[in-house]
């Protein structure tokens, strides 16, 4: 379970997170939505201590991630998968080597066992025949799939997706979201998905949390969010140019 309590973060004089609180129960898949630049990705980075908060706590299974010693943090991080917006693939390695990297470095598996596991994961994301290609030879959607395979190969218990469909066309974007949905259901993972894809994400998450002006203003089911009378949520969900949110 992930528990975020009164999280604050500022850069210089700009306060980005101003008391964020959110609870994600084990096995739950939650979408984090909000305007561009509202701090969604930054909030996600706090969950794996890529950023430390100015104030507040992030608890993963009751453990305060900001206060963990390095060894404990590494153990916790090995239970968490993080799919970056860019994919964060190693450009000088092939797709196979990218996916095999965590297994080669974190396990004592034989190369045969690693090969079998990597090809299995690549098959599960529909990229069995792309193992010898380099990331530069892949489309945006394929890169996201490889990033997901590299994350899944470590068998994480929690998975964090940072805007995985940004820059993809609607068909590829939807296929990626449905892939996440099937992975979540198959492995019963706890997940947080940062996304702008409304209403596409409504069918795959249990809850939607909206971040606005540095705070979570709503945590509701997709149905409730879709019919919310809250003017901020209404404007965001329906993409209205007029309303309380100014760009």
């Amino acid at each position: 379970m992930i528990l975020i309590e009164d999280l604050w973060k500022a850069f210089g004089t700009q306060e980005v997170l101003r008391g964020v609180s959110l609870e994600v129960k084990a096995g739950e898949f939650v979408a984090l939505v909000g305007m561009s630049g509202s701090g969604k990705s930054m909030l996600l980075r706090h969950l794996v201590r890529l950023i430390r908060p100015d104030r507040g706590r992030v608890l993963v299974d009751g453990l305060d991630i900001a206060k963990m010693p390095r060894e404990e943090l590494e153990t916790l991080r090995s239970r968490i998968g993080y799919v970056f917006q860019s994919g964060a693939l190693f450009d000088s390695d092939t797709v196979f080597d990218n996916v095999a990297f965590p297994l080669r470095e974190k396990t004592r598996w034989s190369e045969t066992k690693i090969r079998s596991k990597v090809l299995e994961e690549l098959d599960s994301v529909g990229l069995k025949d792309a193992d010898r290609k380099y990331p530069a030879q892949l489309s945006g959607g394929m890169r996201k799939r490889v990033a997901l395979a590299r994350t899944l190969v470590r068998a994480p218990e929690i998975i964090l997706f940072d805007e995985p469909t940004t820059g993809l066309d609607p068909i590829v974007g939807n296929s990626i979201l449905h892939l996440f949905d099937s992975v979540h259901k198959r492995l019963n993972l706890t997940g947080i998905l940062v996304s702008h894809e409304i209403p596409e994400i409504f069918g795959i998450v249990q809850k939607i949390a909206m971040l606005y002006e540095g705070k979570i203003v709503a945590v509701e089911t997709p149905e409730t969010i879709g019919t919310s009378q809250n003017p901020v949520i209404d404007q965001f969900v329906h993409g209205k140019p007029d309303g309380p949110v100014h760009y």
């Binding site: 794996v48 890529l50 590494e74 153990t75 991080r77 090995s78 968490i80 993080y82 970056f84 917006q85 860019s86 964060a88 693939l89 190693f90 450009d91 990297f101 965590p102 470095e105 974190k106 470590r154």
Partner: protein, 256 residues
């Protein structure tokens, strides 16, 4: 008055913080270099990249450095009737000074800048964060192999530089200016001692460590965007080059 004191204080604090950060970075890189698991394959790859791929530029620079040393040195020595000492002049200048310094400057421009840019791009593409989130230390994969490779490759490159430059000077001194070939090499063996060669190797290893430290640090801490990578690369090359020259002076003054 108060404002200028405050500004000075802010600058001093920033300087101390930078010194602390860079020292911690080096310390962690050294620890990763001498503790298991050591990434032998990456070390070999980096020796090939830093050492072997720098050979053309090293050979070219060395040839012309040797040639110009002979062209400049021979007439000067002839004026004082010591033209037979061209060999010692060229070899002593190269082995303990010009070889390590010029080869280090060339390698900074060719390999150091490329390493800063590569690590910088990995930083802005989240690749370094991805390694960290796999529960691994990115310094072990990106910095330690470079540090070891620079320490191995730089002395070898400096030796290659010295040998080629000595033959470059031979070409001009003996073949073009008409000096006696046996005197060129004979006098050289009389004057050059093992101590000079050891100093040259020690210097080039120090410069190798310095280039790895500065270039990896700059890449690791680069700001975001193409501009950030560009600035980091420029700063790495300028800082490494200046520190090589300062380091050369300090090592020479300590030894003498």
């Amino acid at each position: 008055m108060t404002d200028s004191l405050t500004a000075l204080g802010v600058r001093l604090i920033a300087l101390f913080m930078l010194a602390g950060k860079t020292t911690l970075f080096l310390g962690e890189a050294v620890v990763c270099s001498i503790t298991r698991p050591i990434k032998f394959r990456r070390i070999i790859e980096q020796i090939w990249f830093i050492g072997w791929k720098s050979m053309p530029v090293i050979c070219l620079t060395a040839t012309f450095t040797g040639m110009v040393l002979a062209l400049q040195g021979y007439p000067t020595l002839r004026r004082v009737g010591s033209e037979a000492l061209l060999g010692p002049l060229v070899s002593l200048s190269l082995i303990s000074e010009l070889g390590p310094v010029l080869s280090a400057l060339m390698v900074t421009g060719r390999a150091g800048s490329a390493i800063t840019a590569k690590i910088g791009i990995m930083r802005i593409n989240d690749e370094i964060d991805a390694i960290e989130l796999m529960g691994l230390n990115p310094l072990r994969y990106l910095v330690a192999p470079n540090l070891i490779a620079f320490l191995i490759a730089m002395p070898l490159l400096a030796v290659v530089f010295d040998v080629i430059a000595i033959f470059g000077a031979y070409l001009v001194g003996v073949r073009v200016l008409g000096m006696d070939g046996s005197a060129y090499f004979g006098e050289m063996s009389n004057y050059v001692v093992l101590h000079d060669i050891v100093i040259g190797i020690y210097k080039s290893m120090s410069f190798g460590g310095l280039i790895a430290w500065v270039c990896c640090y700059k890449g690791f801490n680069c700001r975001f965007g193409a501009e950030g990578v560009s600035a980091a690369t420029t700063q790495a090359v300028v800082a490494s080059s200046v520190l090589i020259l300062i380091g050369d002076y300090l090592i020479t003054s300590l030894i003498n």
